[in-house]
Amino acid sequence: MAAVYKFKPYNVGRWVIWSLFALVLVLAPLVFTSNLSVTMLAQMGIAIIACLSYNILLGQGGMLSFGHAVYTGLGSYMAIHALNAVSGGKLNIPVSLLPIVGGVAGMGFAVLLGWVTTRKSGTPFAMITLGVAELVFAMSLMFSEFFGGEAGVSGNRVAGEAFFGITYGPQIQVYYLIAVYTFVCVALMYAFTQTPLGRILNAVRDNPERVEFIGYNTQRVRYIAFIIAGFFAGIAGGLGALNFEIVTAEVVGAGRSGAYLLFTFLGGATFFFGPIIGAILMIIAFVLLSELTKAWLLYLGLVFLFMVMYAPGGIASLIMMNLRVAKFGKLRQIWTSYLGLGLTAIVMLAGAGAMIEMVYHLQLNSALGDTVKFMGATLNAKSLDSWFGSAFVMLTGLGLFELARRQFARDWGEIQTDIEKEIKRRETAV
């Protein structure tokens, strides 16, 4: 029996966390008031729903899907068509409920397509979702009445009657709509993990054979989970349609599906809150990083590779491991190693980054001259000095990093064994 510490009659810890989450959602646009940050916050809300819905498949069901954008994207299309119907007076539902339309659409398509995809699990499942995604994307270029061809479908969210003066004209009103949906959807998806279905889904991920033996149909469990994920994905898509007021074929594309997978994994698929971190990173990467450097996709791919190899639990697992260390009061022993690790890593990455940026500069905008601005320094992409300097910085960083890493690995191992001992001691004490 796992000892779960519970306050009675209320689980105070849970109330505190959820209230804090609501508070952050409410206060965020008051702290970051610029136009750019409000748009980014709105996109983060949407991405949080999308990544969490993706994690129902990846993290909780062990289903690696390469086609999640199909459900968010088709949800977007249905929502924008419904929005246009509302503007045209053909449909009479409030704009605030349009994301639900997207959600129902996403669910409908998940019912239809999920029946084929969830017949398999593991690697074949991944390939089939890829095939279905390609199918839908190829169709989007074919049926221009529904998908709007190259130009996409656009709409105007100021439609229908204003409700208490809320017209959704200003971005801030849309943000709060998204915030409400985000809060409700995150709560619902968390609740889903606690249901018997959510639990059996975890069992299907870990050991499908035993689940079959205790009398469950694993295929049906996967199918139902897929439909639920499709519903939330559709809500994210519907919110996206309201936020951008335009939907193009790119929303069902492979790039979008890949991004959901990448960032859900980076955030951490093994913990419920991991995808939230991933979603926030996704928007930061798409909006800010892509402005900062041309090589951002390369950096992203490399970070992903290293993450899969060295921290398969994503950022969330790194946080949880350090929380465990902190809980046992051992963080003080290790913070110097962290400092060394961080500093040497920065030196190494600065050198490598300078070289990558110079290559990109030579390849893409050599017409603008030979100089590159990188972290405050001006480098000449065609001079030997810059190259030699960057290589020197990188190699020095690499050498020092390796030293720091060895020290860190030793410390970390010691602390972990200490913690194991401590846990055993406490168990015997009880």
Partner: protein, 344 residues
Amino acid sequence: MEFFIISMLNGLSYGLLLFMLSSGLTLIFSMMGVLNFAHASFYMIGAYFGYTLSGWIGFWPALIVAPLLVGACGAVFERVTLRKVHPFGHVPELLVTFGLSYVVLELVQLVWGRTAVEFPPPEILRSSAFTLINHSVNGLSLVWGAAPAEMCSAADAAVRVVCSPFPATRGFMMLVALLMLVSLWLLLTRTRIGLVIQAALTHPEMVESLGHNVPRVFMLVFGAGTGLAGLAGVIGGSTFVTEPAMAATVGSVIFVVVVVGGMGSLSGAFLASLLIGVIQTFAVAIDYSFLTLAKDMGWALSAATQENSFAKLTLSQVAPILPYLFLVLILIFRPKGLLGTREG
């Protein structure tokens, strides 16, 4: 008739190219259980290596050296990353190759630019392998190489002559693929290393305890599989177009091939490659829709049906989705795949 023959040959050559890719993918999958998501990326690297090397040492040496280099890259990748995540299970392995496909795409764009490069086939392959001449009086005849102009035009206006050339690159593609197929089959069934590979497929522990280095066999298989992709890349790149999008175009189709053929079945992959190659080539060439069909049949259609975008779609417009439709149908009616043995 000549349309049928030429389209059939085009389809077969495309199918054989697909097989060059899917054979490596199947080999790696059945051996290590790893679905190499970056397989098409190795195909792309092969094309670009071939492009660069053929500028330095000529096409024919590049045809041999580029696949070897690609295979070496693949083996190094297996050694450095895949072997590390192997204990974590199949999903992380798939994710590593997925990440690699991003990195390779960016690196290729970094080194060779974002637009297509000009990678022409060598002089000898630029002409046609043979030409079919359909003479309305003399019937069908075949001329090796390009047909002289006077054979393709008749002095008499009443006589209709149609010349259909078949490009030599396509013929070369078929030749290489068939050679590869035969040598792969001989290697797997007739040689010692082939027997070790086959044994390591099913009983890795046993093979290991008999003194063979199974991880090294895995590395070799991965290198060989990616090398085959590289070979396909050199040929495909010079026949079609060498651009950063080439991996994405062919990548999803080879996954369809592997699932349709049956996961891990080499003969299934062969059959599925040819089927999909032929179907796609024919579909692109046929300009039929429901509307033309209805007209030919003499059915009366309402005005609304005639404006229906679904009915107006021609088969050539539908061609890109046919492989995926095929995939869905196979999964519904034969989940194992055409020649597959394993379920699930």
